[in-house]
């Protein structure tokens, strides 16, 4: 029975490599869920990395994805067709941090006070705390990073939902696990 189930789930992933990554991470439940959605990648990766839904709770995605909010998205216009907007919103909400049992998602979710709707991942208390060692020399003054919002500049396995120390390579500095100035 378990084999049949596993097989069915496997068949759901058309991309074999993706299925492998998915299971490698799933078994550990450590990072955030490496879920994928083509429409989301298309509509939200043009200006920055398409952040995993598990990096913010539902209420944040719901606010970010309001038509008015998208029209003035951190000073930019990120408007979408209504059809696309609804599909992307559903994808984000279904996989949000507060619906996930992955370790990092739970930590993110628990660190945000209930009455706060945080629109920035970089302002989530847990994420902020974790990046305290990321001073200007690594980020702002580092031409290959520029801003903390460019997660994938340092987290080289982020597509798989993995954030472990040994996967963090800071451009112009090297692997975080080998740098000892924090």
């Amino acid at each position: 029975m378990r084999k049949v189930l596993l097989f069915t789930v496997l068949m759901m992933f058309s991309h074999q490599a993706f299925a492998e990554d998915f299971f490698a991470n799933l078994l550990r439940f450590k990072g955030v869920a490496p879920v994928k959605n083509d429409l989301y990648e298309e509509g939200c990766s043009e200006c920055h990395y398409a952040y995993q839904p598990g990096l913010l709770p539902k209420r944040s995605w719901e606010k970010l994805m309001l038509p008015d909010e998208l029209e003035d998205h951190f000073g930019e216009n990120a408007e979408l067709d209504e059809e696309d907007r609804v599909e992307i919103l559903n994808f984000l909400v279904e996989n949000a941090a507060d619906t996930s049992f992955y370790k990092r998602s739970s930590k993110i979710n628990r660190s945000i006070p209930d009455d706060v709707v945080e629109l920035r991942i970089t302002e989530v208390p847990y994420i902020k705390r974790k990046h305290q060692p990321m001073t200007d020399k690594y980020v702002k003054n580092n031409p290959k990073v520029k801003s903390l919002i460019n997660c994938n500049a340092c987290h080289r396995e982020i597509d798989k939902g993995i954030f472990d120390d040994d996967t963090i390579l800071i451009p112009n500095y090297g692997y975080w696990s080998e740098l000892d100035d924090d």
Binding site: S14, Q16, A17, D38, E41, E42, S45, E46, C47, H48, A50, E71, D72, F74, G75, E76, N77, A78, E79, L80, D81, K146, S147, I149
Partner: protein, 148 residues
């Protein structure tokens, strides 16, 4: 073996994929639509002029007096632009240049997909001018890109 399997799977999925279009493939159809809305004829000269035109406007109590298409795309847009805020490079706006599809990492010709062009006209006009562009303006921009 694994590689072969993946390749085989990709090949079998090929007919399902949308055929890659040539640069500029969407321009003709879009111009026809703008004409049906009463616009035309289109002028590359007018598009060129509009490209660097600043239309001061107010949004949520803030005045914007320095925004033009060149803010992100450069003028002339035959050279790469740079996104003002994110610093990401934007490929030139010529028919022969290519953007990178973020999803597949593959090259993507300019003005090839109608939906993409419509989406960015809407976003960028509102951001730049505080309003959507008219069919005439959009047609002029396309004529300008074609002339580059």
């Amino acid at each position: 073996m694994k590689k072969f399997l993946i390749l085989a799977a990709m090949l079998s999925a090929m007919p399902l994929l949308v055929q890659a279009e040539d640069g500029g493939a969407a321009i003709h159809g879009l111009m026809d639509k703008y004409k049906a809305e009463g616009a035309g004829p289109f002028s590359a000269e007018a598009g060129k002029k509009m490209w660097t035109t600043v239309i001061p406007h107010e949004k949520k109590g803030e005045m914007f007096t320095d925004r033009s298409c060149a803010t992100c795309h450069n003028a002339p847009p035959t050279t790469p632009g740079k996104h003002k805020k994110t610093g990401k490079e934007i490929a030139p706006m010529t028919l022969s240049s290519f953007g990178i599809n973020k999803k597949t990492g593959e090259k993507e010709p300019r003005f090839a997909v109608e939906k993409k062009v419509r989406k960015w006209f809407k976003r960028n006009c509102k951001w730049t001018y505080g309003r959507e562009c008219t069919p005439q303006e959009k047609g002029d921009f396309l004529a300008y890109f074609k002339s580059l």
